[in-house]
């Protein structure tokens, strides 16, 4: 978004004069929504960011959380929505590049990527092109840099037909003694490393801070990636950090050089002197204002002392990476930019990094009360038909078409792989052979578009459950809030409600939100489509022994299947209503934090004690879908009596398809059923013995009446092939 009149007069006041052209560009970049968080800062203060293991919270390029005493997990999420709408391949791939560099800034080694994709309907030809481009962009970039894409989520909805949401997250690990947490000092040198600076992505952050219009003019604002340079940056920086020749690193991301320099100087109350002519550029005739805001990819700013410089240079030269020493930090608290010896900008650093906070008006949109009110739900006439429809819904069906394009094995860490469990499990071989972490990302745009508070809170809850299901203890989350134009009160309302939902739920679950990102202006003006707002949550959990981690496929005929948690009639906003009745409304399931905590601790105990043989959380499509997925993945049948589901006020279709939060399905080894039930009794957890794993069909009964019988092979076929069929035609 270009600067407002108020902002322009504020700049005049700060400088006491008219800004130079270079200064105007710098303010536009740095004060863009994307870089400054001016419309979100006020609300983001609500998030609980502290915890006993949080070493670095929000504020730096990435946060860090302590694991296994001597290590830190560094992880962060980012959106690349605007660029992906214009150029899906380059938009998505540079999103991956950017988030990986954020992890590098703390000296960490990137070990996993996650992608959270909100895509259009595969049978829409334009949406189909976007889907292929986004996935190929992530695939080509992620594979080439050798960081496995291990988890995430993919959602398909008409509202993303011309405008996808592309959120990517990266997880890194670093020994605490190597974590780059130094303070830059006056006299330190500023070195720019990596790709040369070109005209791509000039004012890209400003482009991302307004709605998407007719896109013919936007293509220059999209950056183009070079994964080979990124891979060299990863290797070289890991090397340089372990050799101790780096003091501080910053990514040149949104806002380019302007943002990197202004944030460092503002944070540490320093000034800087920069000579733009020293920088390696792609084209000789680049003007200073282009250089200072270019968002060319694969560039990083390194702060190093004069003594460390030679060591750094020898590492960079070994990897054939280009670099330029462009200036130094001083104590003036003023950023002075020179171009060919001439002073072209002189800005107080604290002012550049401190835009005016925007508090937009908030108005509850009219449709909210009608959408989210309680529905009288129509009756499902054919349960098997409903189950088949759900299992083959692109939102539920196997995402193998997506994840098989990613090298999820590189790194020899991926213990629980895509498609096998509720979260990915990675071993941390730098700690020891069996220590590990779980990672997962979640979001539900149908929930958040109907009820943003509950929807966002439920995303936190679902991420928590997914991490628990594989046997980990959740330790921290990051969030990405994808919303519309904040200047429209009824759009801004969604944002404020989503922040509040995340904040409340995280606080209740006692899990810190250590970082995140906000993406506004997700609207496509050329199409007048509503882009559904969504909150995505990426979480990390720790696992002491990866050999105990759980997958979701049923293991042995004769084992018992338990349902953990009480089921309520909560079909509102659910997959059944959407797929079977084409209804996208109703009361979204209530977030139930205390139940999440209690049931989560029970499931973790079943896993720790060795009672569980497989675990799956209950989410889209309820118990019926959860159990069916377990059968499909394990190539087993199940014999279920729905009468044993702990419930309040449910009809048959609620027992099968309700999306009540806080529930799990657990396969328990036959000989330990009573022990498992005793633990539940001791903790006060509601558990029902649903049935027994069989070698036959999936059979749901209620007392003596058959409710639903289906052949596992038929469901398998539908589940495994639905998505690739709908994309490939």
């Amino acid at each position: 978004m270009p600067l407002s009149i108020d902002e322009i007069s504020a700049i005049r006041e700060i400088l006491g004069r008219e800004p130079t052209k270079v200064e105007a560009y710098m303010f536009e970049a740095q004060w863009s929504e994307h870089c400054s968080y001016k419309s979100s800062k006020h609300y983001l203060r609500l998030l609980p960011t502290k915890g006993k293991d949080v070493i670095i919270g929000p504020g730096r390029d990435a946060p860090a959380v302590k694991v296994f005493n001597n290590y830190a997990v560094v992880f962060k999420i980012e959106s690349h929505n605007h660029p992906s709408a214009v150029d899906p391949y380059n938009g998505a791939s540079t999103g991956v590049g950017g988030i990986v560099r954020d992890i590098l800034t703390l000296g960490a080694k990137p070990i996993a990527l996650l992608d959270l994709l909100f895509l259009g309907e595969p049978n829409d030809s334009y949406a189909n092109w976007l889907i292929r481009g986004v996935v190929k962009g992530i695939s080509d970039y992620g594979n080439r840099i050798g960081v496995p894409v291990v988890a995430g989520m993919t959602w398909f909805d008409k509202s993303y037909n011309t405008y996808p949401l592309v959120n990517v997250a990266c997880v890194g690990v670093v020994e605490l003694s190597k974590l780059l947490n130094n303070t830059p000092k006056a006299g330190d040198l500023i070195v720019i490393v990596g790709n040369s600076t070109g005209r791509d992505g000039v004012l890209g952050s400003s482009f991302a801070s307004k709605p998407l219009e007719d896109d013919s003019n936007n293509i220059a604002a999209v950056q183009v990636g070079n994964p080979l340079i990124e891979k060299l940056l990863i290797d070289a920086l890991n090397d340089a950090v372990s050799k101790g020749c780096v003091k501080y690193i910053k990514d040149l991301g949104g806002g380019g050089l302007t943002t990197a320099v202004s944030e460092i100087t503002a944070e540490y109350e320093l000034g800087a002197v920069v000579e733009l002519n020293s920088l390696h550029v792609r084209e000789d005739d680049m003007r200073p204002e282009e250089i200072i805001v270019s968002e060319s990819q694969e560039r990083m700013l390194i702060v190093t002392s004069k003594e460390q410089l030679q060591g750094l240079i020898s590492v960079l030269e070994m990897y054939d990476l280009q670099y330029s020493v462009i200036g130094y930090l001083d104590s003036s608290k003023v950023i002075r930019i020179y171009y060919r010896g001439e002073l072209v900008a002189e800005v107080p650093s604290s002012e550049l990094a401190r835009p005016q906070i925007k508090l937009w008006d908030v108005e509850v949109p009219e449709e909210h009360s009608s959408l989210s009110k309680e529905l009288s739900v129509p009756k499902v006439t054919n349960f098997k038909d409903a189950l088949l429809k759900l299992i083959s819904s692109p939102n539920v069906a196997s995402k193998e078409w997506v994840y098989s394009q990613y090298d999820y094995e590189v790194g020899v860490r991926t213990v629980v792989k895509p498609g096998y469990g509720d979260a990915a499990v990675l071993r941390l071989i730098e700690v020891d052979t069996y220590s590990g972490i779980a990672v997962k990302g979640d979001g539900n745009p149908r929930y958040t578009s109907i009820d943003p508070f509950r929807g966002a809170a439920n995303a936190v809850g679902e991420c928590f459950r997914n991490l628990v299901s594989v046997g980990s203890t959740p330790i921290a989350i990051v969030d990405e809030l994808n919303a519309g134009n904040p200047e429209k009160p009824e759009k801004y309302w969604y944002f404020t409600q989503m922040v509040k939902g995340v904040s409340w739920m995280a606080q209740e679950l006692n899990i810190p939100v250590v970082g995140g990102k906000v993406s506004f202006y997700n609207e496509d003006l050329s199409n007048a489509t509503e882009v559904k707002p969504v909150t995505t949550i990426v979480g990390v959990g720790v696992i002491n022994d990866i050999r105990k981690s759980q997958t979701l496929n049923l293991k042995h005929v004769g084992n018992y299947v338990l349902v953990v948690g009480v089921t309520y009639p909560e079909l509102g906003g659910g997959e059944l209503l959407y797929r079977y009745f084409s209804i996208e409304a109703g009361e979204v399931p209530l977030p139930r934090p205390s139940t999440e905590l209690l049931n989560g601790s029970y499931v973790r105990r079943l896993i720790d004690f060795g009672y569980a043989a497989s675990v799956h959380d209950v989410s889209l499509g309820g118990i019926a879908v959860a159990l069916t997925e377990m059968c499909i993945k394990g190539r087993k049948g199940v014999y279920v009596d729905l009468k044993n589901v702990p419930e309040r006020g449910c009809e048959l279709q609620d027992l099968l398809f309700s999306e009540t939060q806080g529930r799990y399905v657990v396969e328990v080894r036959r000989e330990v059923l009573n022990k498992a039930l005793e633990v539940a009794h001791d903790l006060g957890v509601h558990v029902g013995v649903l049935g027994v794993v069989s070698s036959g069909d999936i059979l749901f009964r209620y007392s003596n009446v058959d409710v639903l019988e289906a052949d596992v092979d038929e469901l398998h076929e539908a589940y495994e092939n639905a998505l690739s069929k709908s994309i490939e035609g």
Binding site: P227, L228, Y319, E409
Partner: protein, 218 residues
């Protein structure tokens, strides 16, 4: 392990050699490689030079490959995995070529392969028709050759050919088995913790064969 710009599975192979079969192993940057100092050479997977031009094409024309060819003529076992296999075919050390998968897409998946006519340092402990599970992860893994391989050791996709390789070929070795190329990744299938339900740690046979061969010959 020879590391080119863009090689990304170097440390994975080192991990397995050191921790699973207790061999000493190190990563050597391609500019610093001297062939005479090593008992065996692995060209690990990744995207050397970003796969520009064709997978493996640029690395195959770098000076270090002359050293590798020298080493092979001196009887040093050489294994190329994935991108390493692509480099070996580009360099002419192994026959055939690897072209884009018939799906046109990158594919990461666990597969079953069968070993035919095993011999040499990399397959010493394998037996004929042994079924081995390993994951593949490549975009250019479709093996192309004029006629069926009659004499050298080969490794063939078993049950399902994932990329349209001719004669189902997933890997091939020189006649004496000294130089071998594999599209599947044996280093990713060498520890039980990393093996998904329904598969076994098939890659182990390659690393155990090497460890035994280096001690006892082959």
């Amino acid at each position: 392990m020879i590391k080119f710009p863009g090689t990304n599975a170097d440390l994975d192979v080192v991990w397995v050699l050191r921790n699973v079969v207790s061999l000493d192993a190190s990563v050597v940057w391609f500019k610093e490689f001297k062939g005479k100092s090593y008992d065996a050479i692995v060209l690990p997977g990744g995207f050397s030079y970003g796969d520009w031009l064709r997978a493996g094409a640029i690395a195959a024309r770098s000076k270090v490959i002359d050293e590798v060819i020298d080493a092979s003529s001196n009887g040093v076992p050489i294994l190329g995995i994935c991108n390493g296999f692509q480099i070996l075919t580009e360099a002419g050390l192994l026959p055939g070529a690897l072209i884009t998968n018939d799906s046109g897409k990158f594919l990461c998946k666990w597969v079953k392969v069968r070993v035919k006519r095993p011999r040499g340092p990399w397959l010493k402990l394998a037996y004929d028709d042994m079924t081995v599970d390993m994951p593949i992860a490549h975009g250019e893994g479709r093996y192309y050759i004029d006629s069926e391989v009659e004499h050298s050791p080969v490794i063939k996709y078993y049950g399902h050919n994932p990329n349209g390789s001719l004669f189902d070929i997933a890997g091939i070795a020189s006649n004496d088995g000294l130089v071998m190329g594999l599209m599947p990744h044996p280093e990713r299938a060498a520890e039980p913790e990393l093996v998904p339900t329904g598969y076994t740690a098939g890659g182990l046979v390659v690393w155990r064969s090497l460890a035994t061969s280096l001690k006892e010959g082959w």
